[in-house]
Amino acid sequence: MKKFLSLTLALACCASVFAGCGGASSSAPAASSAASSGSAPAEIRVVTSYGGDDGNRVNFENAVKAYEEATGNTVVDESATSNEQWKAQVKADFQTGSEPDVLFFFTGVDANEFIKNNKVVSIEEIRKEYPEYASNMKDGMLPASPADLKQYAVPVNGYWEGMFVNKTVLKDCGLEPPTAETTWEEFMAMCKTIKEKGYTPIACSLAEVPHYWFEFCILNQGDPSQHVEVPASATDAAGQRWAAGLNQIKEMYEAGCFPTNTLTATDADTFQLMADNKAAFAIDGSWKVGWFAGSDDAAGAVENLDDYTVTYVPGMGERKSTDIVAGLSMGYYITRSAWEDPARRDAAVAFVEAMTTDEVVNTFAGGTPTALKSGMTKPENPNSMQLAAIDMVNGATGSAPAVQDSLNATARKQLFASIKDIVTGSVKAEDAIQTALDTPLADEDK
């Protein structure tokens, strides 16, 4: 019990904005309320995506161990690797009433069903009993559910999307990597030069992963504040921006910016062009840094990391090149079933608090955006690419979450699948958008 009390105190300290335990007094209510109801050590079931060979698997295991030692509670860890099947399992668990006590899951439309069915507890409700819950996070950055715009999940590490650059190829073409000032026209001119030199300008499989160019080509048609709008039809303002964005991909395709086999190759095939010094650019997410750096969870295919860097995707019109796509797409939920069981409630709340302290979040985030009030910190011994990424995120003038996460999976897949038809001219962009928005399953998730 003493251990539990001291942990809660420690947590509350971390939660206060200024470290050094200056705020010990303010944390007392939370600690006492937790202490009064908790009795015997509890066992909680936890499902996260930090399974398998996830880059943060070791960090997660360490954090869980620390929690168990501090509280005497036991954690049944049922973490797995995130994919479509895992999502289905989590949803099936909620359907059958065998959901875990704490869940680390997506904050977008994937969570809609169990949020609508009142199977998880909102942060607002938790704070009525535990006022310090998630108080080390900026409230404005806690992701709101698209189902009811309430906040449920406490995020850990976020993501950014940016442009990876192969400096060796650029040097051979007599070019410098794009910077914050590079405009879209200049970028297209670079691609043309690269193409003439016999290289592939942009490594991308339009057949399998057009997602990233979709985001940035649409962002190019407006500004970050407009980026989150999902069109209601292909003809409204957002719909027109989407059509223009898709047509921009088509122009790039026609200009030969993508690999010859972009419609028949897998993403692994095309991304390999970066490692083989055959392609100059590729857009991908923060998770791809590990692929270059060669951590355990990735192929680590490049010879010298310093020959690569990451930077802004050049912008056009209203969108500055320094406007980026970034956000927090996953977070910890506490389920209703844990909340209503006094024994597990304290354990679950303490677990989420333990997993979202400044210190733990910083070890997990490693240079990706966080919602922490204390801001983003550099990872220990960062490599050149991580440093470039931190500069990129810190220098951003605006940021928007990926708009595809607001689209229902059916509509999103439908739209992405039609990109190959749009670039080959067999389907018009407007028609593809309308078809995707018209899928019977698309409308109900908004």
Binding site: N261, T266, L441
Partner: protein, 296 residues
Amino acid sequence: MNAMIYKKKWPLILFLTPTFLFLTVYLYYPFLMNVWNSFNRIGGMGEASRGLNNPPYENYVKMFKDPLMSTAIKNTLILMALTVVIQVGLALILALLVDQIKFGSQFFRTVYFFPIVISATALGLLFNLIFLYDGGMLNQLLTNIGLITENIDWKDPSHFFGTLMMPVIWQYVGFYFVIIVTGLNNISTDIYEAAEIDGASGLGRIRYITLPLLHNTLCTCLILAITGALKVFDLPWTMFPGGMPLDGSWLTGTYMYYQTMEMADVDYGSAIAVMIVVLGVVISQLANYIFKEKDY
């Protein structure tokens, strides 16, 4: 005589009940749910129905209008024909040949089994690297011997069909091989010895003794090839995700998976599953009718 042993029917209950209990509880009940799902609207595996479709049979209408579904069925039927002819044919030839030799037959039986035990992900990776556009094994080889000057994209619309079918057919030859070898071993050696005395040997023995006695085994292979082609999923999906290129490579198995797991259109996926089963039952009944199994 036969009639006498098997006239009393009561043991049937003991013979069949456990099996059909399993089938009913674990396959038919879930599949009936699947049939029901195909009339509902479900936006993701593991989610509840959002109500009936409008009209309820909407998915079945959609299926007949869906050009990707016609591609899938067309490809699957071709694969089925190729499976029966090439896969089972090759397996039969290899099995007959292995039956002819004394030395090393165990070795061949073991190595022919390899492709079935290696996971589709690993085989998919290997074949992807063989057929890779840029620096793949095949393109390098053809360039080195001067047959081509420019890389061939083995996955483009004019080449993908062979690239898709070859590995799928190759992988399961070993499966039919093992089944046919087993069928061969069930043939009593006395029969061969009798044939030997009658002067039948070599090809004549195969034509007049082995093949007729293998009839039932080959019928089994036929049924398995038909149902197998409708189900095949993992290797094609690893090599040609998302119906690459330009929706050309769909098979019923991959399309069902795609709609259910990727598109999260569970009700449409369920309707495709129904279609797969209907096709399978109809075609295999047809095959059974043509190549009637025999009792001995």
